[in-house]
Subunit: 252 residues, 2 copies
Amino acid sequence: MRHEQRADAATLNSISPLPIYYQLQTIIQNDIEGGRLKPGDAITPERKLAERYKVSVGTVRQAIAPLVNEGFLIRMQGKGTFVAGTTMDPDYVRSYRFLSDFSEAEAPIKFTFKSLKKVAGSTRINACLKIAAGQDLFELKRLMLIDNEATAYSISYLPQRMFKRLDETPSSRFEKIALYRIIEQAYGVPTISRRELFSVAAADKEVAALLQVEPGSPVLVIEMMAYTHKERAYEFRKSFCTTRSRRLLREY
Amino acid sequence: MRHEQRADAATLNSISPLPIYYQLQTIIQNDIEGGRLKPGDAITPERKLAERYKVSVGTVRQAIAPLVNEGFLIRMQGKGTFVAGTTMDPDYVRSYRFLSDFSEAEAPIKFTFKSLKKVAGSTRINACLKIAAGQDLFELKRLMLIDNEATAYSISYLPQRMFKRLDETPSSRFEKIALYRIIEQAYGVPTISRRELFSVAAADKEVAALLQVEPGSPVLVIEMMAYTHKERAYEFRKSFCTTRSRRLLREY
DNA sequence: GCTCATTTGTTCGTATGTATC
DNA sequence: TGATACATACGAACAAATGAG
């Protein structure tokens, strides 16, 4: 479990205008973002880092503290310092939160799996994901229910090359665990940020049937990109929501 | 400009299980959240705090660091440590950001002032703002244009008691400076968080006329609450957006 | 343009406490 | 119980930025 960091090609430069603690912080952060340190790995203990780089423990702590603060690392007294997974607040990372009003409580939601299959890449989606036009995708469809009423329908696209054998995941898993958790646990890809585009559109036949509305009636449409380290896109998702009785919540 | 903190009713307790640095952090944070330290104020220098509380400079720094990190304070070498205003990333705090697609650049937006007047409180809005039903409100209406095309229309409600004489603000100011900046600069109320509820609704006559759409046609509706310290609500806003050519952006 | 007092920034080293295994 | 590792706290020295004179 303990990850052995290689005995540093990167070294600290005391002549550099950059503070030593910052140089060390960058080294560690690069190891995380470069995938050499994966979620769950323990990093070298602070005292050993201090010896290796010939700096004081305080300086090592200065390097580690901001990484802990930004959510890259998790420190546990008596155990060690570990690489974190998805940094976003679990509440914020949830895409489908519905309220009828600000004063009301959040409605519990149920995910149902519809399908997961390999599909050919699309020009637009591959461009958004910044992958070659020829690369194939996984297409995941899910329906979200509140009080047994279909409330949101989502179609996700993920690069096959990045998530090999995702289609071997038991479908029940997609109903129990959030997608970003699966991505993180199975592939070591944490979710760092997301962008969403909101619009209104008329429901097509597929959406209308699933959301139980008249074809052509207006629904809330959200196109989302999910990003891991270094703003690398890993998912494109299109969601359709009815907002008859409940409305979609976002907090910042 | 320099704010003199009173010579501490609150004192540090070395017997307490809470670390000293944390106790000191809490004292400072309470002064900020309680309004005794306002945005722009300088806090007592670290060495003086160390003397006053009989702790080392390092401990004071440990107390200040997280407050800097969370955005309550801003430190400037050679100048001092100052109480920050709105903590949110300026980009994130902007409510009206529109893109035609993920790969496109953001469209520049123009705010136009429509009206600002005193209105009686409403049961629902006052409840959301957690103020007495009888309290009066300011109602601010603004129209947002992209490429001279009406794209969003917003109606904001703010408690009169909290923002006395807001209606004496020159209307041009609302077209040049974001509302949250005015609120912060004129009243010392920083924006800490927001919640939004997204839905789709038919445009009424007023909205349809301003957004230049057919009455009854579907528009994106966003109800927003803005909060300052301690999750105290200070604004209720209802926005209506057309998403013909551009879509509303949110990032997390 | 220069100097000086003030203030924060960086780095060091040490000691002791506490949690884990 | 002991070894390991992080948490808290202290204090000192020098660097760098600022603003006043």
